[in-house]
């Protein structure tokens, strides 16, 4: 379990990038749900934490593919592959993330370990 930050530090509608390897993005939706996905878009090297959160989808800040935060699924190209999702728990007011053991779908040219620099 990765301690991210106190829930009170992530207001609804906001996102936070956790600079682990590969980096992850933690979102708090307007409805209050806290969800985590890999931060790097599967199309190119863009940080999804910088994207636009709408409901429980995030639009990539560069080329506007949208990812479902619950499933990681992408709605339309240019991104084609889903992002990994990570399980989130809020324990005693602290956001905790359990990192997925699946292989991340990093964009071509980015090996695991390097991160989005956007």
């Amino acid at each position: 379990m990765l301690n991210v930050c106190p829930l009170s530090e992530l207001p609804p509608g906001e996102a936070l990038r956790v600079p682990c390897s590969p980096p992850i993005a933690v979102f708090r939706t307007e409805e209050g749900e806290v969800l985590a996905i890999d931060d790097t878009c599967t199309h190119q090297d863009a940080s999804l934490a910088d994207g636009w959160l709408e409901g429980c989808q995030v639009e990539c800040p560069l080329h506007a593919s949208r990812f479902d935060l619950r499933t990681g699924a992408v709605d339309a190209p240019p991104a084609k592959r889903p992002v990994r999702t990570h399980r989130v728990e809020v324990v005693d007011g602290m956001i905790q993330v359990e990192l997925s053991l699946d292989t991340p779908n990093l964009p071509p040219g980015l090996a695991a370990g390097s991160g989005a620099n956007a």
């Binding site: 863009a46 940080s47 639009e59 080329h63 084609k80 956007a118």
Partner: protein, 387 residues
């Protein structure tokens, strides 16, 4: 409506086919393309593909599990439009008949005739161009890029990253003054210098020296730039000549109304080849950006099938990735009277500025400010949505 022909098998043609299917069209869609390749994405050609981090498979636009059921006619240029029958003539003499035609033939790179005939001289528009240029970008080679627009700058950046010595020549006093205004065009041009690329602006190339292969570019002020590779990046011209025998109105691109409908019933144009009537001014405006090629096909599909559209076009948006920096622009700078630095540090080349007209924000430029940019872009969309 049973049969629709799309001419131009690139991103805009493919997205038109997708949009037609998404709107419920179950008839035949024929996609005519002069390139032999299935639709691929062009922006990486000057970026990831050129430096070799992307291969052909990475830029394919079709999804494996997508069942669009398209009838491809590739490697076949369309050579004429028989307007009354909505039929398209192909170079091999065959005729593709249909009930409607969507023209998405895009644009091609402009050339400099004075440099023709020398080996090592390139333009960059297609996958084949990119394959040829990539093979020529050897670290020991010296590259001269003529034209410091977005694509020229990206090629310079990619080549520099591969270890080449690079000079960029720009005829205008400041690069990118058209899209960004001269102040911020000039500021962005500092990216070249920072990366060790020499920028020569306000001077034209006068002669191209070579012995079969390009050896040097001599500028109008006498400067001689040694070169083994020359890239001409002086903009793009719309592919519209094949329509010249038809009654379709052609200016700088195929002129249409605000929904891509030409003056001919059942004939539409969209993407880089088209000049749609601008919603603000009513004048034809050709837009050469990726998001335009992706968003407008939905308008065309709805208009073609239902005679109306529910799509509200978003303000123009484009990006450019150069020297490891994300440049993003949304909206317009036309008639701006003020530029406000909203965030960041202009000298550090990480900033967000807004272009304003009479106080109203009409454009947003972000340089390595992706998060702030996205917020501003959304705000711009909200303001511009007609009531």
């Amino acid at each position: 409506m049973h049969d629709i022909t799309i001419v131009g098998a690139s991103i805009c043609g493919l997205y038109t086919a997708r949009a037609l299917r998404a709107e419920g069209f179950a008839g035949r869609i024929t996609l005519v393309g002069d390139e032999v390749h299935r639709p691929y994405d062009r922006p990486p050609l000057s970026k990831e593909f050129l430096v070799g981090t992307y291969e052909i498979a990475d830029i394919q636009l079709e999804d494996e599990d997508e069942h669009l059921d398209l009838n491809y006619r590739l490697g076949q240029p369309a050579v004429g439009l028989r307007a009354r029958e909505q039929s398209v003539e192909l170079a091999d003499g065959s005729l593709v008949r249909g009930d409607a035609v969507v023209v998405a033939t895009g644009a091609r790179a402009r050339t400099l005739p004075a440099a023709h005939g020398l080996e090592g001289v390139h333009t960059l528009r297609s996958l084949d161009d990119a394959i040829a240029l990539r093979a020529d970008l050897q670290p020991s080679h010296r590259l001269v890029v003529v034209g410091a627009g977005f694509i020229g700058a990206e090629i310079a950046s990619s080549a520099r990253g591969l270890g080449l010595e690079v000079d960029v020549v720009e005829v205008a006093p400041t690069p990118l003054a058209g899209p960004l205004g001269s102040r911020f065009g000039g500021i962005l041009a500092r990216l070249h210098e920072r990366a060790g690329v020499r920028l020569h602006s306000g001077v034209a190339p006068a002669t191209f020296e070579g012995d079969g292969r390009i050896r040097a570019v001599v500028l109008a002020d006498g400067t001689r730039l040694p070169a083994d590779v020359l890239v001409v990046g002086v903009g793009a011209a719309p592919n519209v000549e094949w329509l010249s025998g038809s009654p379709v109105a052609i200016g700088n691109g195929i002129e249409t109304d605000q929904h891509g409908q030409t003056g001919l019933p059942g004939v539409f144009a969209v993407g880089d080849c088209a000049a749609w009537a601008d919603s603000a001014t009513g004048r034809p405006l050709r837009v050469e950006h990726w998001t335009n090629a992706v968003e407008r096909p939905t308008v065309v599909a709805q208009q073609l099938l239902h005679g109306r559209t529910s799509m509200v076009p978003r303000p123009t948006y484009f990006w450019s990735d150069q020297y490891g920096v994300h440049v993003q622009f949304a909206g317009s700078i036309v008639d701006h009277d003020e530029v406000v630095v909203e965030d960041g540090d202009v000298d550090a080349l990480r900033f967000l500025v807004t272009y304003r007209r009479a106080g109203e924000v009409i454009g947003v430029l972000g340089v390595d400010s992706v998060r702030q940019f996205t917020r501003r872009r959304r705000a711009l969309s909200a303001i511009r949505t007609p009531a």
